[in-house]
Amino acid sequence: MSPIVEMRELRKSFGAVDVLKGVTFDVERGQVAAIIGQSGSGKSTALRCIDHLEKINGGELTVCGHALHTDKPDLAALRKDVGIVFQGYNLFPHLTVGQNITMAPKLVHRRSRKEADEIGREMIAKVGLADRWDYYPEQLSGGQQQRVAIARSLAMQPKLMLFDEVTSALDPKLTGEVLRVMEKLASEGMTMILVTHEMQFARNVADKVIYMRDGRVHEMGGPEILSQPSTPELADFVNEEF
């Protein structure tokens, strides 16, 4: 079976600044890939390219069978297959938790209210917030909001989940509750790509670690590269982060 994400020599620049200078990696179905690296290494940009939030300037990128390097990629189809969770949660503040979660299944998948509610209730239970269904986002803690954001993405039943530094805005206790949800997803076989600073989590959960540096993949391998890095740069980075 072909990889769920195939990235080949991906290039992206913002004006005169080259952020991605030829990034190549694959993520297989069922894998958990962790992208790590310093700020400005291009790791978030690489992740955003996968959901076409950034238009790519060169190279090839195929996600869930959708080629994104063409002139008119099928974005509607891409978004049905890919879910993304952001650092800032980005819940819709005017809607309750339940409405946040069921809106897209109703509008995009054309599910009935009843079906959407069933899926939504299942997902909110999965993130451990079943009793918060009727709350508004502002009534929840950051960690809870982030878990709702995860449930909202899951309700679209994506084939691939992207996590863009989802715990960076949270304190350690709240980080823990979000990471536990992600760990559970990984154990259920969800294909996940996460940009993260949580080295411990990457080591315990990731099947693949991608270390980015200056717009390129500098070192890539299993989680063991975090304990036995083969490049001095990754060794330095790991030392700083742990």
């Binding site: 939030l53 879910g83 952001f86 980005n90 819709f92 005017h94 897209a104 509008l107 995009v108 909202r152």
Partner: protein
């Protein structure tokens, strides 16, 4: 004080309220289209809306009123009834300002909200109608109510050119025969105040309330 004059003033007040409502309805609809156009992915539409806003904001309402009322008649096309002419001119004027206010409100909804909605697979229109508009609406209510006060007062400009029987026009007519400007213009002023003041209070209250919710 002459009872007939008072009734005439009240009749003018009715005219003012009708014109204000029509202006808000027609100008609001046009302004909404202007605001949406300014966010369109289609560049010509975006530019046209921006041009419309700038040109209209650069012309006094009185001049717009004159063009709309006298223009068609002079070219012998047709005579525009005063209420229609006043409504069109006021709506043109209001559309530029309401369009600008609402565009700002739509813009002030955070960009990540667009992204989140986009990534869930919502179409452009769904993103706008389900995610952005409801949030912008909360922001828009106080300045919109505030602008309604300006609409009510600016309906008086239609008295100068068009001769539609609203409050200022009737006050002027009465003064021409009574020569009591302080009394009748004063009363007119009081009537304007009685319509506008509750709106101002409401705008301030809404602003406070929505700010709390927006913390």
């Amino acid at each position: 004080m002459n009872m007939n004059f008072l009734l005439l003033l009240l009749d003018g007040l009715k005219g003012t309220v009708i014109l204000s409502l029509l202006t808000f309805l027609v100008g609001g609809t046009a302004g909404f289209i202007v605001a949406l156009s300014r966010l369109s992915p289609f560049a010509p539409l975006r530019i046209a809306a921006q041009l419309w806003t700038q040109v209209v904001q650069g012309i006094p309402l009185l001049v717009i009123m004159g063009i709309v009322y006298f223009g068609p008649a002079i070219y012998g096309i047709f005579a525009v009834p005063p209420l229609i002419a006043a409504t069109i001119a006021m709506a043109i004027w209001a559309s530029a300002y309401l369009g600008e206010i609402w565009y700002g409100c739509l813009r002030s909804v955070n960009k990540p909200q667009w992204e989140a909605a986009e990534c869930l697979g919502l179409t452009r229109w769904q993103r706008m109608s389900r995610v952005i508009l409801p949030q912008a609406l909360r922001l828009a209510i106080p300045p919109t109510v505030g602008f309604m006060v300006i609409i009510v007062k600016n309906t008086s400009i239609s008295s100068l050119v068009v001769g539609y029987a609203e409050l200022s026009y009737n006050a002027k007519v009465i003064n021409n025969s009574s020569f009591e400007p302080f009394l009748y213009f004063g009363l007119a002023g009081l009537f304007y105040f009685l319509v506008c003041y509750p709106l101002s209070v409401q705008a301030r209250a809404l602003e406070r309330k929505l700010n709390v919710a927006n913390r």
